[in-house]
Symmetry: C2
Subunit: 400 residues, 2 copies
Amino acid sequence: MKRVVMKFGGSSVETIEKMQKIAGRIVKKRNEGYEVCVVVSAMGKSTNSLIQLAKQASASPNKRELDSLLATGEQVSISLLSMILQEMNQKAIGLTGFQAGIKTSGFHTNNRIEDIDVSHIEKYLNDGHVVVVAGFQGLNAAGDITTLGRGGSDTTAIALAAKLDCSCEIYTDVLGIYGVDPRLYPKAKKLYSISYEEMKEMAFLGAKVMEPRSIDIAHRYRVPLLVAHAHDEQEGTLIQEEDPMEHRPITGCSVSEKIVLVNIQHLPASLTLIAHLFVTLANEGVNIDMISQTQGSDGFVTLAFTASADDLDNLESVLGFLTHDEPEVIIHIDKHVVKVSVVGSGMRTQSGVAAQLFQLFADHGIVYKLITTSEISISYTMSKDHQHQAVQLISKAFDL
Amino acid sequence: MKRVVMKFGGSSVETIEKMQKIAGRIVKKRNEGYEVCVVVSAMGKSTNSLIQLAKQASASPNKRELDSLLATGEQVSISLLSMILQEMNQKAIGLTGFQAGIKTSGFHTNNRIEDIDVSHIEKYLNDGHVVVVAGFQGLNAAGDITTLGRGGSDTTAIALAAKLDCSCEIYTDVLGIYGVDPRLYPKAKKLYSISYEEMKEMAFLGAKVMEPRSIDIAHRYRVPLLVAHAHDEQEGTLIQEEDPMEHRPITGCSVSEKIVLVNIQHLPASLTLIAHLFVTLANEGVNIDMISQTQGSDGFVTLAFTASADDLDNLESVLGFLTHDEPEVIIHIDKHVVKVSVVGSGMRTQSGVAAQLFQLFADHGIVYKLITTSEISISYTMSKDHQHQAVQLISKAFDL
């Protein structure tokens, strides 16, 4: 029997009415002869409401407790969606993360899936049930409820599809993947197909439809991934192995808005000190992105890097320790920056893309601060003031 | 080290502010040298909100899914209260039913605790944590999340106290146990001590402070039980072994308002049929209370019993099958009834209480329908119209 994992995000399940609509879509898929495993997020803004309660309870809520609190959101969704499916005479059962056999490890609020024991799910699939699994959550070896952090429900869905050896359909509130965010460039074109690598790079560089870690799992286990609209039946975007016939030099342009640029001057040139800084940041769950380091002739180092604005509290507390231990250090955090990235696997074979971009920015006076490149992308950190102009220029130049 | 289980109901944890108040009380107890295990219910009316969502999702929500849905309420409470305790520099950890080792069996939405593996709780208690356990829930042998039905959080607290070999304090929104509900008789007197048996009988007969099953566990395991106000420090009521020096003939008077009286006439006098009826009612989770049966000379039987008004849907569907199979049967369900009960362990040794009651009702024209008696109580089913007068007469006559 054919199998599929269908994933619905928070905006697709924010009311009972919306759940009834997606339940219709699930039953249709089932009637087409599929065994269906569904992964759902928490209803609409319910996770935010829980976070608000946690903030009232504590200035910095304990993360183990926060995980346990947030995990209730998806548990509510699976129960209600299962009831709705049963009301439509479709056998269905809701499973929380631990009931679905999802084992995690790592830090609270930012765990990763270690393994999934799908025997429970397969038993119910074989028995004709639609199995509705709570996304975003699992259980660690200590028996604590854990959550997977951003994009966690996508990760759950894709990891399940990998384990259940089937494809995965991500239903969301956009019609598919665009070369550039239509909110930033209204003439943006939808892509009907994109490679894992390009999608991962786009996601990593700020396209918000999916998190890179999810796509990474899909890529690693070769899970075909469809991204489509939850309430609109038009064709979405298929994420799959690269098709060498279809090389475009540039697939997309993405913007990361919620970043900060950290500049540390007059840092003693000690490998131990710098390593300790990054280890401490990692332990506090601060994700560091672009790193640039220059050494002056005075024996001191200037270090610049970007980090997620969401991690600002932890970032500032770690940097606070640094200035305490090394009082001569000068730290500046610039919050008025964005990262504009250009992605395309064609950049591997077609040279000149970077040159074209530098020329474009020079012609229009767009100043950038940090630059990083990968095999298939190039990213510029710049002032928020230049973001709009940069996206327009890139989209027109590369027909996105 | 001394130990105690403190239980706080939904109205005591309905806001973060109220949780902060009870957290103060918990820390105070801890500073008095107690190891403290706390049991909490869902916040205020949150269980009702979840039930409303379930009713939107399905006309008769699947009970397994309903259990999973409702269990999120207590999970929210344990996480938030633990955060608040930690914010007050008190080590604390929240445990859901399954994490606390609570194993249940029975029917979904109405399970009973089979056993508790307290090793996880004891580990944290020994380590100086306040352990905050989600009331009302557990896990069955199939790995499904279950709930315990009415009074479930009290049951959790008392069962934990039995397993942890300590006393249990039930904090609620009343100042203690009264001989008669002060809302029904404003001059009612608070009891400072009451025996398990009397309390159980009172609860069984409608006093709403605690469910009889909870008191039954306390009695069986000799768990001393204090009932007191969550936000008022005045002395509550201690429920404990009977003190033979303090026999009062009547301890209290209680009223069950949410009942219906079922009258079945022209029922064939078949033991199999009647047994089948009660077995079916039990399987549907309908709790039957007072039963009276009379046999006519025509070979037919008249059967009357009371049931909880909450079970009315299930009751009517079972009775529907009966009229389908036995079309000559005449069923009447009277919803305008209450049960007024008089309780006192002194009734064992002091005769004349029943006679006094019958005289009282006769003098004032109070008509009753069914009567049942136990060793320490006597109950009358009567029209709602007579409830007020009956309670006033009894309270005055026995100085409650």
